[in-house]
């Protein structure tokens, strides 16, 4: 038992997730009845794998509003008409044996169970094996459970669980023919294929063998000529018409009608068989033989009777769609079958029937579209995912459960309502094998104690609504008292010529009473395309036209360079994809190489937007990470991308000094930081943080690369082969030791329920902590 405290924040989060904003007014009303502190138990859970749906390890509900000592989910009615939700805590969580859920779900999906045959159990065990990723047999099938909730007399299961089960059962062909296909291995052994060239002659030989044997058994000389018999065969083949003997199975059945001087021979052919005949014991039919034969399914029958003496033919008039012929192999060739096929046995599974008019699921069930009425039924239940510390809501759909030890062929629609009706007017329903009886009220259940709560939900954290705010760049702010030009190289050349025109210098000196260059506030280069006004203008210093026309004028102070998005997937699928085994850096133009946290970016995608102030060249690099459904700007770096163009000697001197200062700063900082960090790092496999670039000045940035990139540094894994069998993988999960196999090392255990001495209990605990092969 573990105490657990529900914080108000968790509670509000819980209600919000369940009911959205509309419930906020009801929160205070519900909160007042909740007992914040209570105890609960946690339970091991066998997480199904390999079905495209993963599960969390543990779910715990919230305290019941009455009593407050036990866990219970909160439920949210699912509505489809836009009406308000109504939250309630009336209902219970429980778990159902997976085998019972499987059989019940089959009924709900349109497959009735008429008999719990071996074939049924084979398919069920195979399906559960695929779902749970481990071998499920009739010996251990009782170990597997499925989460269920009970509310208002209905038993409901998670939608994802139903989909996973449906897919697994579909893979076992439960829905294709209500059974399974058994393909016999030796498809060619004994196979006798007729073709259009040999068919008649082979049938002739077979009939002759039949007849000569019969006459010999009766010690009567065989009286017929081959020509007579062959003409009968040819006539028979002509009568039944042409058909593609290779397309569909055919079986020819021959027997005598009377044995006398005027022997009549009955010839029948079953062609275009939908299913092929096999011996009753499942062995193959050879190409022609006489044996116990079962014909499954329909065919087209043609039958004629021939007088062997005269060759006269009469129509036998047989017809039908399903046949079952037997004969005694021990009595010889009194009857004969000839077939061209013998290689597949196909039969419906014993105890399974497709319900009339049933809507069967597809191989990849799309529940809302395939069963819209069902998908809109049920409730939305809220659960607290202990492993992820997240609230999760799951759609629970009703499925009626069958009575233990009995089989009820439940119509699909009734099986889907999940309603408990022990009076027998609907599917008899009862929760089995230690789970709470759905007839019990929630209050009854609360008195019984806590329950195991496994649930199908994704293992990856659900998206949290914690996106960082969207940043909007200021617009239309370039200029003001100044004009920001974006001249071409030719226009700059013209300006230079005009700038040192004597008349102009005098004019500017008159205007500014100072250095005429003061009219130029800045002249620099940036390495992004500024946003310019559609109307080009003349270039003025002050109000003096510089004889340069058609110059682009920048109308936006801030510009944005969207560098795009790159994915940073996991490579190893384990902890080595993250720190300290993996480090991530980003190269940013005009800024340099900067450190990112691998924990932040691995498994997500990184978007980079660089913003620049056209007036000053100031650069802001925003690194946004999209991961677990959230988009967050986690890093911001600054730099300057304006390369100043010297206009005077003073400008030039100050730029040179600035460059020297920047170089000294960058080299000094990088060297010391690298040395210090490298020395300080002593942790195994941790990565020393080496500064890989000094501070960029705009000029050095202009010489460096203009495309940003990520550098992902990974240690090379050196795990020994099958090391998991020697040391095991990290776990830290609470499990029932009976549910695990292989090497297991226990971290904590309370040895109880074992009849042994106290010293032996200590030994058991020590042994489990040392390791045990289970």
């Amino acid at each position: 038992m573990a105490a657990w405290t529900l914080t108000l924040a968790e509670l509000i989060n819980y209600f919000s997730a369940l009911t959205g904003a509309k419930v906020s007014a009801d929160v205070s009303e519900l909160v007042k009845d909740l007992h914040i502190n209570r105890s609960e138990e946690t339970y091991p859970y066998l997480a199904p794998v390999g079905i495209g749906s993963t599960l969390i390890q543990l779910v715990r509900g919230f305290p019941a509003t009455t009593g407050g000592q036990k866990i219970a989910p909160l439920f949210q009615s699912i509505t489809t008409d836009g009406t308000d939700y109504t939250a309630t805590d009336a209902g219970v969580i429980t778990q159902i044996p997976a085998k019972d859920f499987t059989l019940s779900l089959l009924n709900a999906l349109g497959v009735s169970i008429t008999d719990l045959s071996a074939g049924v159990w084979t398919g069920v065990c195979n399906a559960l094996s695929n779902i749970y990723g481990r071998e499920v047999t009739l010996e251990n099938i009782g170990d597997f459970r499925v989460l269920a909730v009970v509310q208002n007399g209905s038993l409901m299961f998670d939608e994802a669980t139903i989909k996973a089960w449906s897919d697994a059962l579909s893979a076992e062909d439960f829905f294709s023919r209500g059974g399974y296909v058994q393909t016999l291995d030796d498809v060619t052994t004994g196979r006798h294929e007729f073709n259009e060239f040999t068919y008649n002659s082979e049938l002739f030989l077979l009939l002759k063998q039949l007849l000569t044997t019969m006459y010999a058994e009766n010690t009567i000389p065989y009286p017929y000529t081959d020509a007579n018999l062959l003409s009968i065969v040819n006539d028979f083949m002509t009568s039944i018409g042409d058909y593609d003997i290779s397309a569909k199975p055919v079986v020819i059945y021959a027997s005598y009608v009377s044995f006398s001087e005027n022997l009549t021979l009955s010839l029948k052919i079953f062609k275009n068989l939908d299913y092929v005949p096999v011996n009753r014991d499942g062995t193959l039919l050879p190409g022609y033989h006489s044996a116990n034969v079962v014909l499954y399914a329909s065919s087209t029958l043609y039958g004629y009777t021939y007088n062997l003496r005269t060759g006269a033919k009469t129509s036998e008039g047989d017809s039908g769609s399903a046949y079952h012929y037997t004969t005694d192999i021990n009595t010889g060739f009194k009857e004969l079958y000839a077939s061209n096929i013998n290689y597949v046995k196909e039969e419906t599974i014993d105890g399974i029937e497709i319900q009339t008019g049933a809507t069967l699921p597809t191989d990849d069930l799309d529940l809302p579209s395939e069963y819209p009425a069902w998908a809109s039924a049920g409730v939305s239940a809220g659960f607290w995912d202990d492993a992820a510390s997240l609230l999760r809501t799951r759609k629970m759909i009703p499925v009626a459960l069958q009575e233990e030890g009995e089989v009820y062929v439940t119509p699909q629609a009734l099986a889907r309502d999940g309603v408990v009706d022990h009076a027998g007017t609907k599917a008899k329903t009862k929760i089995l094998d230690g789970a709470v009886d759905v007839l019990d009220t929630p209050t009854d259940w609360v008195d019984e104690g806590t329950r195991t709560i496994p649930l199908d939900v994704p293992t990856s954290p659900e998206p949290m609504n914690t996106d960082t705010p969207v940043v909007v760049l200021p617009t239309g702010t370039a200029g003001g008292p100044v004009t920001v030009y974006n001249p071409t190289q030719a226009q700059m050349d013209s300006l230079r010529t005009e700038l040192w025109n004597n008349g102009l210098v005098v004019t500017l000196q008159t205007l500014f009473n100072a250095n005429p260059m003061d009219a130029i506030i800045s002249c620099h280069m940036i390495y992004a395309s500024p946003h310019v006004d559609a109307t080009k203008k003349g270039l003025y210093l002050g109000n003096v036209f510089m004889n340069v026309s058609g110059v682009n004028v920048v109308d936006e102070q801030f510009i944005e360079v969207d560098c795009g998005t790159v994915s940073v997937p996991e490579l190893f699928g384990n902890a080595t994809d993250y720190e300290p085994y993996t480090s991530v850096e980003i190269y940013l133009p005009f800024i340099g190489i900067q450190q990112l946290s691998a924990n932040d970016v691995v498994g997500g995608s990184v978007s980079l937007v660089m913003k620049e102030d056209v007036l000053t060249g100031a650069i802001l690099a925003e690194v946004t990470v999209t991961k677990n459904g959230s988009t967050q700007t986690l890093y911001q770096f600054t730099g300057n991308g304006a390369v100043q163009i010297p206009l005077t000697g003073q400008d030039r001197l100050s730029q040179i000094m600035g460059g020297i200062k920047g170089a000294l700063s960058g080299g000094f900082t990088g060297g010391v930081a690298g040395a210090v960090m490298g020395t300080a790092s002593g942790a195994i496999a941790s990565k020393p943080s080496i500064m890989k670039s000094g501070g960029f000045s705009p000029n050095t940035g202009a010489m460096a690369g203009k495309l940003p990139y990520l550098i992902i540094n990974r240690n090379i894994p050196l795990d020994a082969s099958e090391y998991n069998k020697f040391t095991g993988y990290p776990s830290n999960k609470k499990v029932n030791l009976g549910s695990v196999s292989g090497f297991t090392r226990v971290k904590d255990v309370h040895v109880e329920g074992i009849i042994c001495t106290e010293q032996e209990k200590t030994l058991i605990e020590e042994a489990l902590k040392e390791g045990i092969f289970l």
Partner: protein, 149 residues
């Protein structure tokens, strides 16, 4: 007391051991001043080193044979230590526990870094380049007082 003696070949930590019995069940006595944890079984049989495991019916426990001592009179003393993993395996399987290590990934958390992941000191660098960036050629920006007519 009856004693089944024989061998096992699995790891001593295995809960399920395959016991290969040597000979038939032997009558034995327990040496005085020994206990159920570390009993010494006295059997009337010549010493043999070809056993390492035994089962004491009266105790209902499996034992590792730690030492074999030849006694006078054709007697042999088997110094044993209880194998709790096998003797109480059903009870152990009924226990709930927090497991530190597990062979199967199903019951593991591969993102728990408990220091067991081993890597080389050598590293690899993967570079992922963004699609876009700054221009290779610059744009002149000239800011002047006034102007813009």
């Amino acid at each position: 007391m009856e004693l089944l003696i024989g061998t096992y070949s699995e790891d001593a930590m295995a809960a399920d051991k395959t016991f290969t019995q040597v000979g038939s069940a032997l009558a034995c006595t327990v040496k005085q001043n020994t206990d159920v944890i570390r009993p010494v079984f006295i059997i009337r049989s010549p010493a043999t080193a070809q056993i390492n495991y035994c089962y004491a019916d009266d105790f209902g426990r499996w034992y590792f044979v730690e030492n074999i001592e030849a006694l006078t009179g054709g007697m042999t003393a088997l110094h044993c230590f209880v194998d709790v993993r096998s003797s109480f395996k059903e009870g152990i399987r009924a226990l709930d526990a927090i497991i530190e290590k597990q062979e199967s990934q199903t019951d593991s958390n591969m993102y728990l870094n408990d220091g067991s992941f081993v890597t080389e000191v050598r590293t690899t660098n993967e570079v992922i380049i963004f699609d876009d960036g700054f221009n290779d050629t610059g744009e002149y920006i000239l800011i002047s007082a006034g102007g813009g007519v």
